[in-house]
Symmetry: C2
Subunit: 107 residues, 2 copies
DNA sequence: TTCATTGGTAAGTCGTAGCTTACCGTTCGT
DNA sequence: ACGAACGGTAAGCTACGACTTACCAATGAA
């Protein structure tokens, strides 16, 4: 958890295909070939996306015979959720307070 | 809220510079030129990023004289947070349940 | 009205992310 | 041991996104 840069997670979810993969894995764990069948891209492409997601700490993989089963990593997802939560609270803070901002702090 | 595709929000936050802008705006509302001073990019670049963020429903703008003050839109942030929450819950669901997946549903 | 300030838009360049095909390693079945 | 299935990696191509400079519109002050 502390190993991953949270920025990596956002970059990972910035791609529509990777979001689709995450949605598939949210349903249930899947093998690489399985994901490739569900998506309109080749299997190597799926592998590359999974690598990005894994580096970001959003998914985990498990060897099962010749297959490799991927599943969501709740901790990684939670990390992003927490950061988003922070933004949300700060936004609400500045919301009620700032109605007028006539003075500039320039120079 | 219903107007925006949630995917737009993820795409918007997929860029590091836009995440930096969001962080700045989470602190407090800012004008375009203000953001440009804080960031290592030109003012037009900031404008383009703000357009993306606005289309995604993550920020709102308000005219203040010749300036244009941008601030976070809590609703947009909350939308992403909810979606992330859904993924998180589903991930936990499949976590305890799936230990073995011997059968394939292929063909 | 005229000038200065602020910000959005247009046009163009450059880097990189995502995709493909081809190839190789690994694991299981016969 | 041999062959098939599955998946990761390499190399290369293409497209799109982020940034720049230049220009224009709008607002406020003199």
């Amino acid at each position: 958890m502390g190993t991953y840069q949270t920025g990596e997670g956002w970059d990972a979810l910035g791609d529509p295909t990777r979001r689709a993969i995450v949605e598939c894995l949210a349903e249930r764990p899947r093998a690489v070939g399985e994901l490739a069948e569900l998506l309109p891209i080749s299997r190597p492409a799926v592998s590359q996306h999974l690598k990005v997601l894994k580096d970001a700490g959003l998914v985990e993989d498990r060897a099962a015979g010749t297959r490799r089963v991927y599943r969501l990593n709740p901790a990684g997802v939670a990390a992003l959720r927490d950061q988003l939560d922070t933004f949300w609270r700060r936004a609400l803070d500045g919301f009620q307070d700032v109605v007028e901002e006539p003075n500039e702090e320039k120079s």
